[in-house]
């Protein structure tokens, strides 16, 4: 028990090094709490979202074709569901990261923003792995499983992630210490799920309704995620990348501004 053997705490580290150290520490901690020290935990972490996809596949598998005979239904579902889940989980689950890491803000290096980013890294990594696994399963089952335009798909993925994180940041500030706001946000995701063309194509709806649906930026991103994946896919008319990109920018800017203004309240320990 001699203090001499202990490391000297560095006097000054660069901001970048501190930031990296905090994120690495938080990501490892987050993974550890999810896995709960068992191999089964690791397996479950991957299997849970995959099971969700498979249940929906089983439920909607009776329809033989999605939009046109060239588009296979499982591919249609996987390429819509997983991008949507990434977005939804980021937006919906990031706010909880602030309160579940509350005790850690006593270490001066750790800020609520780090907790959000660490959780985002874990979610994106997790769903990236699930997406890859689902695609390999599709390939194994003999379906079309490679994206036709991978670079464009990455751009769409980047937008989905940034939009999710931005919205998550907005919700984190808005719902902090307001459990009812949290409930309302939770409910709002169900209609969004249905209106984003995730499990059924919105192409068949009447033009009036479609014009309204086009206001939904998530629909744009989901449609684009499919367009860049499936060669034969006919995207909905009026879909473009600029509109959701503008939303993404607005959500991130709003989220970061709100965070900046309310950052002291978010750390309030008691």
């Amino acid at each position: 028990m001699q203090l001499q053997s202990l490391p000297a705490t560095p006097r000054k580290r660069s901001t970048l090094r501190i930031q990296r150290a905090v994120l690495v520490a938080l990501v490892i901690r987050e993974l550890r709490s999810r896995v709960e020290g068992r191999w089964l935990g690791l397996l479950w972490m991957l299997f849970e979202p995959l099971a969700h996809v498979m249940v929906i596949l089983a439920l909607f598998g009776f329809r033989h074709h999605a939009t046109s005979p060239n588009v296979e239904l499982p591919v249609f579902l996987v390429t819509g569901l997983l991008p949507f889940f990434v977005f939804r989980n980021l937006a919906r689950r990031l706010p909880a990261a602030i309160s579940s890491n509350r005790g850690l803000y006593a270490y001066r290096q750790v800020k609520p923003f780090d907790a959000l980013i660490a959780r985002a890294i874990v979610e994106v990594g997790l769903y990236g792995a699930v997406y890859a696994t689902a695609l390999m399963l599709l390939g194994w089952l003999g379906y079309h499983w490679l994206p036709q335009a991978p670079l464009e798909l990455i751009v769409v993925g980047f937008l989905l992630v940034t939009f999710g994180v931005g919205l998550g940041l907005v919700f984190a500030v808005a719902a902090h210490n307001r459990p009812r706001v949290q409930t309302v946000i939770g409910f709002a995701f169900l209609p969004l799920y249905l209106l984003s063309g995730v499990i059924f194509p919105v192409h068949t709806l009447s033009p009036d309704v479609r014009a309204w649906l086009l206001w939904n930026p998530v629909l744009h991103l989901i449609e684009l995620a499919r367009t860049y994946f499936i060669a034969a896919y006919q995207p909905l008319e009026g879909i473009n990348l600029g509109y959701p990109a503008a939303w993404t920018l607005a959500a991130s800017a709003l989220g970061m501004s709100l965070y900046r203004v309310y950052r002291h309240r978010l750390v309030s320990v008691d």
Binding site: L6, L26, S33, E36, G103, R108, H264, V267
Partner: protein, 227 residues
């Protein structure tokens, strides 16, 4: 060097802002152990939180080139589902102690806390005394220029308390302490100077006894005012 520069801190309440400090300027004397005293609600804990970097001032700043600890014996930062080892690894990573440095810290805390194989069991299965042992050991494993102590010295059994005192003393050979306590004995034993926090103001007393007397005097006076 540890300086408060135009420090302003308020908290929002349903009846407007409540100021704890308003444009407070104060320089902590170098190389001294400081006892912060004051009545409940005077702002001692707020000042400690500001010093620890947990909370930020609304205006002004804390100017310092010193390494300031987290509140010694802090247990809030522990995650119950993780083991003591994993929780300590987290703090090591945050403080940049990786590899061999991390191993040394783990060894030190395991040895100091002396809780046997509980060290590798989830914290939820610990008694509060065991948690306190790990928390205190972890605080002592890092060298800081200032250790912030907020009334936690009396944890664990008599033997552990003696051990904690010894290791703290060893640390204080090269570092200093800023301590909040309502126990004047503890203050007398550890501190060289007193900072009395009163109505958003900080007054330095070079003589510990004079500081305590001023605090107790002010306490009696306020008691007289409200019958």
């Amino acid at each position: 060097m540890l300086k408060l520069h135009n420090l302003t801190k308020w908290y929002p309440t349903p009846r407007g802002r409540r100021y704890v400090f308003r444009d407070l300027n104060f320089e902590f004397p170098a190389r001294t152990n400081i006892g912060l005293i004051g009545r409940n609600g005077a702002g001692k804990s707020t000042l400690m939180r500001l010093l620890a970097g947990t909370d930020a001032p609304n205006a002004g700043s804390i100017v310092s080139d010193a390494r300031i600890s987290w509140p010694v014996g802090l247990r809030g930062g522990f995650q119950g589902a993780l083991t003591a080892r994993e929780n300590i690894q987290f703090v090591c990573r945050v403080y940049g102690a990786t590899g061999a440095a991390m191993r040394n810290v783990l060894e030190f805390v395991a040895d100091f806390a002396d809780i046997g194989d509980y060290f590798d069991l989830p914290l939820d299965s610990y008694s509060s005394g065991m948690r306190a042992r790990v928390a205190f050991g972890l605080s002592m494993a890092f060298d800081f220029d200032y250790y912030l102590i907020d009334e936690v010295m009396a944890v664990g059994d008599a033997q552990f308390r003696k051990k904690s005192q010894r290791v703290l003393r060893e640390r204080l050979a090269k570092a200093n302490v800023i301590m909040v306590s309502h126990s004047m004995q503890t203050i007398l034993r550890t501190c060289d100077r007193i900072v009395l926090i009163e109505r958003g103001n900080a007054v330095l007393y070079d003589d510990v006894r004079a500081g305590i007397a001023a605090y107790q005097g002010s306490r009696i006076r306020t008691r007289d005012r409200k019958p």
